[in-house]
Symmetry: D3
Subunit: 319 residues, 6 copies
Amino acid sequence: MSNKDTPPIQPVSGTVVPRYAGPSTFCRLPELRDVPYCDVAILGIPFDNGTSYRPGARFGPQAIRQASRHLRTNFHPAYDTEPFRQIQVADAGDVACNPYNIEEAIGQIETAATDLLDKADALVSLGGDHTIAVPLLRAVNSKFGQVALVHFDAHLDTWDTYFGAPYTHGTPFRRAAEENLFIDHSSMHVGIRGPLYSRDDLARDAELGFKVVHCDDLQSHGVDHVVKRIRDRVGDHPLYLSIDIDVLDPAHAPGTGTPEIAGLSSRELVNIIRGLQGLNLVAADIVEVAPAYDHAEITSLAAATVAFEMINLMVTRGS
Amino acid sequence: MSNKDTPPIQPVSGTVVPRYAGPSTFCRLPELRDVPYCDVAILGIPFDNGTSYRPGARFGPQAIRQASRHLRTNFHPAYDTEPFRQIQVADAGDVACNPYNIEEAIGQIETAATDLLDKADALVSLGGDHTIAVPLLRAVNSKFGQVALVHFDAHLDTWDTYFGAPYTHGTPFRRAAEENLFIDHSSMHVGIRGPLYSRDDLARDAELGFKVVHCDDLQSHGVDHVVKRIRDRVGDHPLYLSIDIDVLDPAHAPGTGTPEIAGLSSRELVNIIRGLQGLNLVAADIVEVAPAYDHAEITSLAAATVAFEMINLMVTRGS
Amino acid sequence: MSNKDTPPIQPVSGTVVPRYAGPSTFCRLPELRDVPYCDVAILGIPFDNGTSYRPGARFGPQAIRQASRHLRTNFHPAYDTEPFRQIQVADAGDVACNPYNIEEAIGQIETAATDLLDKADALVSLGGDHTIAVPLLRAVNSKFGQVALVHFDAHLDTWDTYFGAPYTHGTPFRRAAEENLFIDHSSMHVGIRGPLYSRDDLARDAELGFKVVHCDDLQSHGVDHVVKRIRDRVGDHPLYLSIDIDVLDPAHAPGTGTPEIAGLSSRELVNIIRGLQGLNLVAADIVEVAPAYDHAEITSLAAATVAFEMINLMVTRGS
Amino acid sequence: MSNKDTPPIQPVSGTVVPRYAGPSTFCRLPELRDVPYCDVAILGIPFDNGTSYRPGARFGPQAIRQASRHLRTNFHPAYDTEPFRQIQVADAGDVACNPYNIEEAIGQIETAATDLLDKADALVSLGGDHTIAVPLLRAVNSKFGQVALVHFDAHLDTWDTYFGAPYTHGTPFRRAAEENLFIDHSSMHVGIRGPLYSRDDLARDAELGFKVVHCDDLQSHGVDHVVKRIRDRVGDHPLYLSIDIDVLDPAHAPGTGTPEIAGLSSRELVNIIRGLQGLNLVAADIVEVAPAYDHAEITSLAAATVAFEMINLMVTRGS
Amino acid sequence: MSNKDTPPIQPVSGTVVPRYAGPSTFCRLPELRDVPYCDVAILGIPFDNGTSYRPGARFGPQAIRQASRHLRTNFHPAYDTEPFRQIQVADAGDVACNPYNIEEAIGQIETAATDLLDKADALVSLGGDHTIAVPLLRAVNSKFGQVALVHFDAHLDTWDTYFGAPYTHGTPFRRAAEENLFIDHSSMHVGIRGPLYSRDDLARDAELGFKVVHCDDLQSHGVDHVVKRIRDRVGDHPLYLSIDIDVLDPAHAPGTGTPEIAGLSSRELVNIIRGLQGLNLVAADIVEVAPAYDHAEITSLAAATVAFEMINLMVTRGS
Amino acid sequence: MSNKDTPPIQPVSGTVVPRYAGPSTFCRLPELRDVPYCDVAILGIPFDNGTSYRPGARFGPQAIRQASRHLRTNFHPAYDTEPFRQIQVADAGDVACNPYNIEEAIGQIETAATDLLDKADALVSLGGDHTIAVPLLRAVNSKFGQVALVHFDAHLDTWDTYFGAPYTHGTPFRRAAEENLFIDHSSMHVGIRGPLYSRDDLARDAELGFKVVHCDDLQSHGVDHVVKRIRDRVGDHPLYLSIDIDVLDPAHAPGTGTPEIAGLSSRELVNIIRGLQGLNLVAADIVEVAPAYDHAEITSLAAATVAFEMINLMVTRGS
């Protein structure tokens, strides 16, 4: 890594190369190997063997990158940023995960993310199913220490095991709690809804330290209220943002494995994210895009937009 | 039917058999023949010959059952229920309806529902097109007497005839009114919107006793207001709930025959239903799911969720 | 053109010919050649060579007409109109546009629209991509003089050129401004959202005279507020309404070329349009429906409904 | 009808109006009302209430017409014809069929076809489901007397009744036999395959006079052999050709109600049809296109092509 | 299991209950628990964690059962059988397989199949991915001893390991060879095509005893030749037939995980199967149907038809 | 470019990185910038403004590259090649083509291809629509002199102009003929079928020197005959192979702009290509993949496979 005084290498411009052409990196950004330093790295994690219902999130990273071609990225008025001029962002490609051995895959992801955080100041991961949050949190903890965790999802993802397996897409945050990977008094779930596996689910979840912003809170109290709750809870802690695309309503994100009706609109989600400006976001993931169930790219476009919003948050952190 | 002191036979557990495996009954519940008594029976009515535009609701019951595999059903926090532990619910299979003779089909549905209500205390029907509400209301009246009717739909469904046919999916509630199948001062439509076949449609509908909660009322006054209007009107009467999936916006329910834009979100619909706890719900239907126009199961998942919410209402009735 | 004392020739009735049968004109209206006079003409403009990302809006007019079969058009309670009884509406067919020469196509559209406005008092155009707004505004100006322009879109469409081309779907309103085709102090964009090509985009747009109702304003202030802002700005001027279907959220309108998440719901859009009753709407377009990306006709149904709402506005103008 | 010495009015040219624009008639031909005489009329019959499994063929006529835009129609080398220069072909629109009363619908179709055959020398009907063959054969018999019937289908369609209904899409040719609507020693089925409802199906079918060219005969003996068998059997009789699109393999025609694997390729079907040049084809139908199950228009394109091939056969008849 | 002198319990008749209604078992057959004895059991194996590319075959059994509603099953002229009158066939439901532990899942499948073969004389399994062939062959061997194995597939499936995993969908027949689960001189692959992972693949495969009928042999020599090669090789040995749906061309079977162009048509496949009458077929599987990639059910219909053909083979075995 | 003595840099191995992960280049090959020399370069040409009906081939290159992940590429038994070990193949990315100016785009393609042929010995282009064949042939001529042209297509593509435009996807080979870009006595069309724009089309085409292998010749005479005709005609000349994916039947390639039924199966196409081993193939294109009309990637997989077969031909040239 070298001198940050040189201006960032920017994405291929849509005024020179039509957006449907050119590199397949996220937002047509440079590859990691092509930049002298890296403020934010984008990492694809094509792993879906922790899925309990509709599989296919292994194709998520490619689909999100393809959908990111839609984005106009020069200036974001909601943040007053020119993100790719202000910081160097680069696409680090995909982690090679063993599709037949979950533990080995988790190790591969942890190693890849740890190595990458040697080269990059912050990380945005493209899943893959939610299992990947465990190794990502490990890597992030090893660089930043314990983090505040804000988790957008229709589901709690704090169950203990499925079919005896400790590492699945329904259990990452129990594992993370057991390993003390997040600051319990600064963490929360947002967008939770629907029936549960057990009457005890919510109580057990609370024992881990989580607060819950139910989807109905949004309906009743509005975006600004939710934003305030998140900001109050996170404070100045380094923040890890984990967004399961199924936090969106299936109308907005059909292409996912365990859709749940009565969810957030994409406008609500985007506006909550925009409300988090200035927080100390150090790493983030967007997971559970299953392209085989998508149509007209609406789910992968939502995920790509969310990833881009996260990058803008990183531009504004500490501001 | 036998002793209700034995605890209900529950659905196959998702922790033993993955949700994509096992029986194809609604929520993987036991078949009716396998339970000693039945509080709520689920009945499929694969009939769509009353359809005026896009047909295909004959495949609705299978699609809704398949989508119900998504549901986690152990505990519902909105009702504080463990529905399948508290009451015995069972799947009664499908009515065999003549696809070439509407009157005969109506008779078959009425007979099947009447027989079923001998064995079950309450009924949730999976359509099929809206024509089926007439024979269902007949069967329900014969057990419970006249009922309050709350009808969620984009359309009034109180037209007189289509092409000379009295029984179609646009006319059930005029037939029901003529047969005095509902309590006129306790009945209403919810979600009505869009242009009409005639300037007189609304006046004629009002003559039948209906009040209308237009979709715009929801926009203007919110869910709680709508809930109050329904509760005030229904009171303690035995309630029949008839939900045409096209009350939802096409973004939330594309898989239907006569979609109408500017409709309810699934969150609004679910929240209204949850507001009806304690009402004396004795029977319900969810109709007009046409799977050939669905994608990623979002429409059939909405219908399955609505049916599950209805069951929870039945658990809480009179509470 | 002849005596307006004869009542309008109406669409084929859905009670005589099922809606899935009969003519393929918009709302099964008469063809222009079959009416003695014409208050509002419907014009298809199958042109999409100004598209920058996903093409296919050339199939828009056919898809919108096909979807218009869904509509019940006799009486519209929101306007208290029987539109096709009150005014004569007819389908003028499609403009033949050169698909290989944008300038020639623009000339063909201008000529066709100008000729049509000799025969019809008002015009509703079915696109096609947004490039077509330029020749349509020219034709409208030549009949009505300068117009107020209200433009619903996710994007400003006031960029200068793409790849050196002055006429594209991202640039029509800069061309229109240069040609003084709209009254700058009476014009505005509604529904704008998302990141931009440049920090200067908004400033440059404002220099053209536009005000912007951002999509977030709708979230914060509601439909009535937006309606008031539009009405205040337009006043009594002859109004041109240009609606890019991508003003809707992709959940409501996936079938378009440059979708942008976090958009309007169809209910919001319809309610804003209904708020414009009495304005002097002289011409309108609905553009950017790309059927290859649609499913279950939800996008083309939204567009057909919007076109029908516009016709109702025309019935009420000056009222 | 007037002087045939004037040359035919031709379709809109694809070199003047792009094929995706212009009228929605079959092959963009003139409407019947616009031609002084008519050699071949195209009739849409949007009726599908005789369907036993997947409905939706009511949308067949519109879909076939839309797909016919693909066709280049000026010169057909396989027949050495310029069909629309040599004979006058026109689109007669759709029959309005009662969707709730099969018998009434059959009467409407018979009347419409009989009237049309007063104005047109020959008829190509676009279905709709196979029920429509009965009224069409009646109309054709009343003009031409008894006809040879060649029926392409995966299924025999000579069952007696379904659910007590005599007129369904599985029974037309038994009804036709009972009414002596075809010459039994000149008629045959082509493309039959798959298991049957009963061991007696084939024997009972043979009693009606049919010969069967099984799909396997094609595999074993080839197209020329099949062509010869048909020609030998039909001879000089006036010929009615009835083609169920499910004679094609589902790979070639997924958009149909009762697909059956192991069928004909579209190349085999087209080549058999081309082998029938010179036969005295007086009327034909192409049925069972269910667009909701199609993709990329491949089924409706196959049907449109088949209809166009039939028109070319009519040009060459008696040659 | 009881007296076989009672006639078999048959499927629900399509003349009594429309095929789109009634039980969701394969061909609407009785459940295993409802029959006093069982000649052929149908077993669903919803397992896809051995997949290397597009996952989703876990939904195969449900999709194949749903598609089997299409089938008319009373009489099969190609075999001269009335299969469900001649033998008792029943649906044994699904094996519950651990989705997170391949070895455990294999054990579960082996146990379930072994238990089932205590109750049933023969077995048709619905996959699931091809990994399941190993435990199925073990169960079959334990009842019938070593079997001749005829394997239809685009791929050899005799690779050694993937990512260190011995049990995947690309390796079952190497494992089977190592365990001596098939008679090497009586076994073969049919339909192999396309490039390979290594120059040695074919040689290593031959060492296991397989002969290969390449897809091109079919093109060159025809169905009868292929049938003869299979029959000669199998002889009188008990036969296990394993059919990967990707042996079909993607035009005929798009809904699969690793499609390979230039494959068999469904007509070729069905005709080869029909040529195997009289062989001693004791067990069979049809695998790799991934419904998320299917359309209009064409892949699952092909699989359902193949399963039904296999049952007919079992009726004729030893004849 | 440097020393060819070093072994080629190979694609990422599917045994190290799962095929759904890793680079998005064709077959996960190295980028051009990463190889010291290049025997065959892959060039994406996302241009579709020459399209006359369904647009969208601009997304072809990305879709073909994505589908190429399916391919196992180590050893090809039909050619006895290990292509990526024997020659260096690399992905040169996309040409940036002006989407609003056909002539400029053609210039950009010609320049890019000419420059690339300075660095690479042979070229495989991924379209894009068929317009691109003109600039590609110019570039190829400038390196290799006049070439034999073998053109697989449903259509002749030798019309003169469309709507006055000389460069469109229906006219490239007339332009090429006018510029003497191919050896007229060594060139031919393969797969032509269907009706034509004019009786003179075939005669005018023959004047340009083309011979035609009609699709029916394949049906009548078989693959070997067609192969021989091509080989005889091409001889030892440097060969340019241009394959429009619509030469395949729509069952095999629905994802294209102007499908034509009754086409080649993918097996026929692949076998013809394999028959061309040893010819002096210097450049090739595969065009007209329009992903918006594809499903389950079958069209893009066919195109990717064809491109890979072409590379194998290049390995064997002169052998």
